[in-house]
Amino acid sequence: MEQPAILVEDVSMMFHMNNEKIDNLKEYVIRVLKRKMQYTEFWALRNVSFAVQPGERLGVLGFNGAGKSTLLKIIAGVMKPTKGKVEIRGVVAPLLELGAGFDMNYSGRENIFLYGATMGFSRSYVRQRYDEIIAFSELKDFIDAPVKNYSSGMRARLGFSIATAVEPEVLIVDEVLSVGDAKFKAKSEAKIKGMFDQGVTVLFVSHNTAQVRSLCNKAILLEKGGILAQGEVNQVCDIYDGMVKRK
């Protein structure tokens, strides 16, 4: 059997929930002196395990607060889990929040290289993709203007173009298919579908079961940090839709 592209093994994530957030030294010293350092433990994820084989497209379903975002952040490598481990094979492109690595004072051109470097790519590699990125983002006339003067749609377009230009093997998508105006939306959906056809492994998070059914072939359903159901996409979506109706 092939090695899974994404392997999540017994992952748990615990947060400290303070009643009041202490973010300065003064408060901290006062609390320590008063011996009032109280935390409530909150487990956002409990013993989550699953594997995604190369080329599989996994939908992640769940209500708000079920732990979807935490799971995505752990898989994207942004957070370390409290327990368990995650293994990923291949180049990952997280389409979590587009344009998060942008510097507002920098021009679009400079941000392409900065964002590329943030994702770990060399300058020469980004230069090869440069024309493609600009063409796809349709920002040729604004590429030397600082990004702070861009509209949010323009920023998202540039972010999407850079993130998808790198030919990823694992794509992590968090409901970003609605980028920019209707025209760009259609274009970006076509691009993502094209990547699906090339056999990228996909992790797709959404509330929209219709979208999940059409894009994914497998799904997991999270509830209060645990996996409630996992398996073939239509079965899991039926369970989720049933839960939605009951609420």
């Binding site: 947060f15 300065n24 994207a76 490598g77 997280p94 400079e110 470097a117 943030t118 300058r123």
Partner: protein, 268 residues
């Protein structure tokens, strides 16, 4: 493992260093000339005021007051600017760190490096001053082959700033008010380092001298002045003390940062 990761992210390091330098001077009319102008103007002001008070008392240790003062100013400015910027670097990059997997130490490190580069450029002002006094034969600095040793104190200073930067940047994630405390600390440090005065001018107070000797910035500064101003071999005691101190700080900073970095995301 650490070095392989750093190697993999060398492009990011370079991009951020370049960005810091570019952004700092982009919106000013004179651009990179501020690197020269700022120390030049502040030194002129300080020479004008303190040179009048103490400068005429130039002995073996001061040689030439404007250059003596400029050495101190430049090194102190680099120390305070780079550590302050490094301190804010992690919290300022919150939007990236929260969304993209990236080695976090890149941020304090790149801020120290970019400040080091502008600091090296500003050393040209020092060279200009030295040349001026050399040509006018007015208390000329003693330029000898020992001047070539000047990179040694600067590299030690770089290590010190990186270590302090790592410590401050991880503390600033958890305690926002550390910034204000550090500003006050830097102001104290300015007066506790012989920048405007020579240690001998403090008189015979033993406690004051002990405090001065414990200050690694003092050792580094004295070594630098030995090289470029007094034309003598740098004091080995200063060398060992400041190198040991800086490496210890770097080690502490590295361990602290490494241990706390996974929790940054929960606080920024």
């Amino acid at each position: 493992m650490f070095f392989r990761e750093l190697y993999n992210y060398r492009y990011l390091l370079r991009e951020i260093v370049a960005k810091n330098i570019k952004i700092q001077y982009r919106n000013s009319v004179l651009g990179i000339f501020w690197t020269f102008l700022q120390p030049l103007l502040t030194t002129l002001v300080l020479v004008f005021i303190f040179g009048y008070l103490w400068g005429r008392d130039s002995g073996e240790d001061i040689v030439n007051y404007p250059i003596y003062l400029l050495c101190g100013r430049l090194l102190y400015e680099f120390y305070s600017q780079s550590t302050k910027r490094a301190m804010r670097s992690v919290t300022n990059s919150a939007s990236v760190i929260k969304k993209v997997k990236v080695p976090k130490y890149i941020y304090p490190l790149s801020n120290v490096i970019s400040n080091f580069i502008t600091f090296l450029i500003s050393l040209l002002v020092l060279a200009g001053f030295a040349l001026f006094f050399f040509l006018t034969k007015n208390d000329p600095p003693r330029i000898t082959p020992y001047a070539l040793l000047f990179p040694a104190p600067l590299l030690i200073l770089f290590l010190l700033c990186t270590g302090i930067g790592l410590i401050l940047s991880s503390l600033a994630v958890f305690f926002k008010d550390i910034e204000y405390l550090y500003d006050v600390f830097c102001m104290l440090l300015f007066y506790f380092t012989p920048i405007l005065y020579a240690p001998r001018q403090l008189g015979g107070n033993r406690v004051l001298h002990m405090a001065l000797m414990a200050n690694p910035l003092y050792s580094i500064l004295e070594m630098f002045r030995d090289c470029v101003l007094r034309g003598q071999l740098l004091n080995p005691n200063h060398l060992f003390y400041s190198l040991g101190f800086s490496l210890a700080v770097l080690l502490i900073g590295g361990i602290l940062f490494w241990k706390k970095q996974d929790r940054f995301i929960l606080y920024i």
